[in-house]
Amino acid sequence: MQKVYTKIESIAGNVITVKAAGVRNSDLAVVTSSHGESLANVIKLAGETVSLQVFSGARGISTGDHVRFLGYPMRISYTEDLLGRVFTGSGKPRDNGPELTDNLIEIGGPAVNPAKRIIPRNMIRTGLPMIDVFNTLVESQKLPIFSVSGEPYNEVLARIAMQAEVDLIILGGMGLKYDDYLFFKETLEKSGAMSRTIFFVHTASDPTVECLLVPDISLAVAERFALDGKKVLVLLTDMTNFADAMKEIAITMEQVPSNRGYPGDLYSSLAARYEKAVDFEGAGSVTILAVTTMPGDDVTHPVPDNTGYITEGQYYLKNSRIEPFGSLSRLKQQVNKDTRDDHRALMDGMIKLYASYKESLEKKSMGFQMSEWDDKLLKYGELFESKLMELSVNIPLEEALDLGWEILADCFEPKETGIRSELVLKHWPDAAS
């Protein structure tokens, strides 16, 4: 299996082909060129012709370079030594620490049997009312933050990471700006969370293929820690870069593109990663919080679109706020029945009123006369935005709910809220009624 092939047949993009026999699909190889060694993996077999994607890029590779097949697929060491370390997408240290070779595990393993999953039941508190009250984050959930470039999505991610009660944080960075990478590192170091964090970082200047490996390698490690009883939070930023890397390889491989150049299996490929979020019965869990930047603020772009169909909701980040419209946590119903009896009704009622506020705002901007009802809505909308929506607000759920009732009582009569009478009776602040 250690035979060396010295004739590279073709080089296109980051994909090379060699003629070789007995090679298995997905196996690794080492390509040795004058620029050093790089790993590569088999992505297609056609008769004798083997196609490989070269992790560090095919730039500078010559037709006479050496290819040596290793006979095993991509692996990563799984030990406690990973904690506090920083690696590249192909699992090499990027923090001057030693390379880890113990207890190697394969990445991109099989899916979890649905019959072995359990219904998620633990809320993850974040201190952001827009999340805790309106779209609760749940352990083992997979949730992206949809954002336009320029929004503080990495800040939100870092804040949730630090406040969330989890055992382990794995950060998978894809196409991360170097500054952002340093930001994460500094923030986590400052808060003392670095010792329970593992970084797999591909920065914007690293070779594309390594970007493709980041989610798999992060999730493979997360899964193992979860099986060993740890609550793991995986942060993936930014999945759009991952999809673009996939597009690049697919086009190089001359696959028929489906939508805006993305390969037809975009949905399945994203799903295979996101579905690694799981709560193991009798062991730990994997929660995935990802960032998907929307090119041109277009949610119908294939990447956010496919992502939305896979994940259990999404948070829209717009104008440095988590928008109530479009943001959704599909699992919130699993946990918000046990928080407080008014949680659900208040959540729905306040959003309905906020939607009416938006309509009144539109009317106002068109110069129509405002009715009494409109004035009430306008007042409500402003209070809602400043007291609950701002990212700087950091209060526990119960306080946020009380605040919600106060805002309602400030603006409306009970029967105008559309909330069930018995709840109104119980929670309506006395001072205002």
């Binding site: 899916a111 979890v112 019959a115 399945s268």
Partner: protein, 588 residues
């Protein structure tokens, strides 16, 4: 029998090319031998001596030269007693058994017996000497709440088969011989309770197909009243993500007035299946007093499971549905989501390097979708009983745009269209079915005239609201404004339904009729209203009372009270019935 074999010549994603000798047929199942693993795959193209196979497993580790074994069989499912309550993957592999054998993960190459090895109390119906045709009943076994017919296997030749021998009443193992049949030429064949049938071939062993007219009650008000579904009909639910497709399907699967519900979770989230898995065994079906699980079969090929099996899963589901239909039962098949199935076809088509159609979907997309939905239908069986398969499929259009190929191909063949709207779901108006854009060709459970009256108010109210955006509230006449408020009232107290409220989540027909009648009084009345402020106050109060009423159980003493309150609220301001409403109600 000597099986054909071949060798792998190439691997591309989940497609493998194989050089074979002998004969290989299209859609035949082959196994790739990988060490001691056998990976199931299906022939999807043959060209010369090279067959292209889609592999139902991950293809890592396959080498050129690996051996392939062809079975000579098309992809089939096992049919027999014991299917109910099962949870299968797309290839009818029982997932709980797989879990107890392999643990947390889906190990590839493990295929278990779909029908559990149980024994059943058999009661013969046919006698020795009877002549039976395929799908005629040999005997019955009790399966949960149903009488499961043991039938002459459907794949037997369509001639009269003479019963040579049949077992008497007693308990037999599911795979034991229970009868011997002989064809007119005297060839004898042994029959057990189990047989198999290729999933891509419809089961057509009935006397005639009927027109779907009987309503299928879902207990969702907007559907039953405004956009009804019929037993044996088809409907589709397209909608952008987050609009509530799955919650709607989930509600339907709990409440639908059918005998058996088959849930095909096709390429969707695993978590959603888990909810069904864990909840249904706990929930009691009011119709039967047994748990919901006893009438449910789940075919589950979630998004991270291999893509090729996803394509098979909808066919597996519909084949099992057709099998139970042959017993005179009514089956509802919920497929979530057919877009994922179409995408699986697209992925394969791409690997085969076929010329792509619109959005790279294959050119045969429409015909494949049409022939799938056409497997629904209500039929009269040869013994006179009726059975039906109703198919409800969700569609996940890219970007929420209904102009895309899968939605359009589906709309051509279904009988009802429940389009979900982003606008409505953003405003938390659930179920977010758009009342004006959606349509149904089936008949409602409520008087057609009343429904169309209410629908007209919805249309008119919508127009007024559009106009108000231009001229403002002050530029709108009081009459128009009242129409607008009436349309809002229908929306908030009737179209919207709280699927998480213990009472409101299921509205039985009699309740729908009662609430609709009271609502109709408000809609059809001319009311004495001084100004817009009074109008809004009145409607707010009415809305509040209706919502309280909707959330109150029938047994609750307050139920009648709320009704009275609403009625007296209307009576206070009642002037007369509007002309068209008076005509419908046949009052002056």
């Amino acid at each position: 029998m000597v099986k054909n074999s071949g060798r792998v010549t190439g691997v591309n994603g989940n497609m493998v090319t194989v050089a074979f000798d002998g004969n290989v047929s299209q859609n035949e199942v082959g196994y790739i031998l990988l060490g001691n693993q056998r990976l199931k795959s299906e022939v999807i193209r043959i060209s010369g001596s090279i067959a292209s196979l889609q592999v139902f497993e991950m293809t890592g580790g396959i080498t050129v030269g690996d051996q392939v074994e062809f079975t000579g069989q098309m992809l089939s499912v096992e049919l027999g007693p014991g299917l109910l309550t099962q949870i299968y993957d797309g290839l009818q592999n029982p997932l709980p058994e797989l879990a107890s054998q392999c643990g947390f993960f889906l190990q590839r190459g493990v295929y278990l017996k779909p029908i559990p090895d149980n024994s059943w109390d058999f009661t013969p119906v046919a006698k020795v000497g009877d002549t039976l045709y395929p799908a005629d009943t040999l005997g019955t076994v009790p399966e949960g709440i149903f009488t499961h017919r043991i039938m002459v296997p459907f794949d037997f030749a369509a001639t009269g088969w003479k019963v040579e021998s049949i077992k008497g009443p007693g308990t037999y193992h599911v795979r034991d011989e229970i009868a011997v049949l002989s064809d007119p030429k005297g060839n004898k064949r042994s029959v057990s309770m189990v047989f198999s049938w290729p999933i891509k071939r419809p089961i057509t062993h009935y006397a005639e197909r009927l027109r779907p007219t009987e309503p299928l009650v879902t207990k969702v008000r907007i559907i039953d009243t405004f956009l009804p579904v019929a037993k044996g009909g088809t409907y589709c639910i397209p909608g952008p993500f987050g609009a509530g497709k799955t919650v709607l399907q989930h509600m339907t699967s709990r409440n639908a007035d059918v005998d058996i519900v088959i849930i095909a979770a096709c390429g969707e989230r695993a978590g959603e299946v888990v909810e069904t898995l864990k909840e249904f065994p706990e929930l009691i079906d009011p119709r039967t007093g047994k748990t919901l699980m006893e009438r449910t079969i789940i075919i589950c090929n979630t998004s991270s499971m291999p893509v090729a099996a996803r394509e098979a899963s909808v066919y597996t589901a519909v084949t099992i549905a057709e099998y139970y239909r042959q017993m005179g039962l009514h089956i509802l098949l919920l497929a979530d989501s057919t877009s994922r199935w179409a995408q699986a076809m697209r992925e394969m088509s791409g690997r085969l390097e076929e010329i792509p159609g619109e959005e790279a979907f294959p050119a045969y997309l429409e015909s494949v979708i049409a022939s799938f939905y056409e497997r629904a239908g209500i039929v009269r069986l040869r013994d006179g009983s009726k059975g039906s398969v109703t198919i409800g499929g969700t569609v996940s259009p890219a970007g929420g745009n209904f102009e895309e190929p899968v939605t359009q191909a589906t709309l051509k063949v279904v009988g009802a269209f429940h389009g979900l709207s982003r606008e409505r779901s953003d405003a938390r108006k659930y179920p977010a079915v758009h009342p004006l854009d959606s349509w149904s060709k089936y008949s409602s459970v409520i008087d057609v005239n009343k429904v169309s009256y209410a629908r007209d108010i919805l249309f008119a109210g919508h127009e007024v609201s559009q106009m108000m955006k231009v001229v403002g509230e002050e530029g709108t006449s009081l009459d128009d404004y009242v129409v607008y408020l009436k349309s809002e009232l229908i929306d908030s107290v009737y179209l919207q339904q709280n699927s998480f409220d213990p009472v409101d989540f299921a509205a039985p027909i009699d309740r729908q009729q009662l609430v609709f009648d009271v609502l109709f009084k408000v809609l059809g009345s001319e009311l004495r209203i001084e100004d817009k402020k009074a109008a809004r106050a009145f409607m707010n109060e009415a809305r509040q009372k209706f919502i309280d009423w909707n959330n109150t159980a029938r047994e609750d003493e307050r139920f009648a009270l709320y009704q009275q309150e609403i009625e007296s609220l209307v009576a206070e301001r009642f002037v007369a019935y509007e002309r068209r409403a008076a005509k419908i109600l046949q009052v002056k």
